[in-house]
Symmetry: C2
Subunit: 248 residues, 2 copies
């Protein structure tokens, strides 16, 4: 084995810990590797001490998560990270704080996803967003996609979608949750959207319950691809579009 150092990708995690582990698993699967030494170098901070994002952003109570998130970013930079990523959609609200505190780039899941969608040939310029109410309310994807003239459509039954997210957080990923999620996705397609964007880790776990003919993009897959690309030193792995978007 020839010795070479790969750039360290720092992951701001713990929001929640399951999402962090899921991102790591996706990176492993997406990396063309025959042995341990072929993998991406991840330095992962799975931190339980970040104040609730929901309390701060939606309920307007509780202290700001920004200082602890900035502290994590600085810790990862000091430990040698060449770039950073956040294993949580909502926490991208604090991306400007991170950028202001470190000198290494942030692989921004929201921006990367918006760029991916901007490069697609769309008919209606409408994207169905399956995300938590927190992500909808802070308008992260709305802002990023509006720059490309794309309109965000949320689920008709957003409160039912939140119930599914909560069920998945309790570990309920069985038939009931899968069926309910598939129905919400099917309803979304009646809204003349070009594709469905999954922007919630809990919902990613149910993604394969959606009709395989439905055009679908998962923000975590977009971030995964960029982490693997950066982690292999800028060399893009041979992932076909089909692995990210199924067009039936």
């Amino acid at each position: 084995m020839s010795r070479r150092s790969r750039p360290i990708i720092g992951i701001l995690g713990g929001m929640g810990p399951d999402a962090t582990v899921d991102l790591m698993r996706r990176v492993i699967v997406a990396t063309p590797a025959a042995d341990d030494c072929d993998h991406v170098h991840l330095l992962v901070d799975s931190n339980p001490d970040i104040p609730s994002r929901i309390a701060a952003l939606i309920e307007g109570t509780g202290e700001s998560p920004a200082p602890e998130i900035v502290k994590m970013a600085k810790r990862l930079e000091a430990a040698g990270a060449a770039s950073l990523a956040i294993a949580c959609n909502t926490a991208h609200f604090y991306a400007p704080d991170i950028r202001g505190a470190v000198s290494i780039p942030l692989l921004d899941m929201i921006e990367l996803t918006a760029e991916t969608i901007a490069q697609m040939a769309l008919t209606h310029h409408r994207v169905g967003l399956l995300a938590s109410t927190a992500v909808l309310n802070i308008g992260l994807y709305e802002k990023a996609l509006s720059r490309s003239g794309i309109t965000i459509i949320s689920a008709r039954r957003q409160s039912d979608l939140m119930d599914i997210i909560k069920a998945v957080k309790r570990g309920e990923t069985g038939h009931i949750a899968r069926h309910a999620f598939a129905r919400i996705a099917a309803e979304m397609m009646e809204e003349r959207v070009d594709l469905i964007l999954i922007a919630c880790t809990e919902l990613s776990l149910l993604a394969d319950s959606i009709n395989p003919e439905t055009p679908c993009l998962d923000a975590m897959d977009v971030l995964t691809r960029e982490i693997v690309r950066q982690g292999l030193g800028g060399q893009l792995p041979n992932i076909t579009e089909d692995k990210q978007i199924s067009h039936g």
Copy 2:
């Protein structure tokens, strides 16, 4: 939410990355948590730049992994880790190097497992070790258990066990691997062992194929329990012995 900082547990990982993710998943499951903030603070270095342990220890070729492992330990200590753990049995060969380089404690999977077994009421003082040939050859568990007068028994068909480990590394965790592993475990019980010790991450993935009446201990579960205990500030979670050892 009251703000409190939990001690950071640094994980030396990437040997391989799957084992690292598996340990994190076990820690999440073993932690009594109702929300993100209830979890253990892990700082995980999933490092592909560690020279092959097999090449260095068994084949006697290739450079020593010790310097890179020591570098990881120092990096995690500098980033604030209060203690360290290694998500790999074989890499515990380098535990003395780590202890010599940092001033924080190492949660030693081999020592913790040996202590756990030493506290058991054994009849034959014989433990059946299901591990890779590398772990057998370097005698890690043999040394630790011999201090308690316990003899290690290896599998009759160790080369078949290695074939199973390699199959799991290729992702083959289906019926064939499970059946073969269950047979090797059954043969082990014919050797008058008090219990079977699983000391290989790949084999942990097949553990539930073993006859549930077989007394069985998984070293990763012992390490997981100590990580959770330390990670919650020394407070032992309410895990019953039954969750670690099944006596039928």
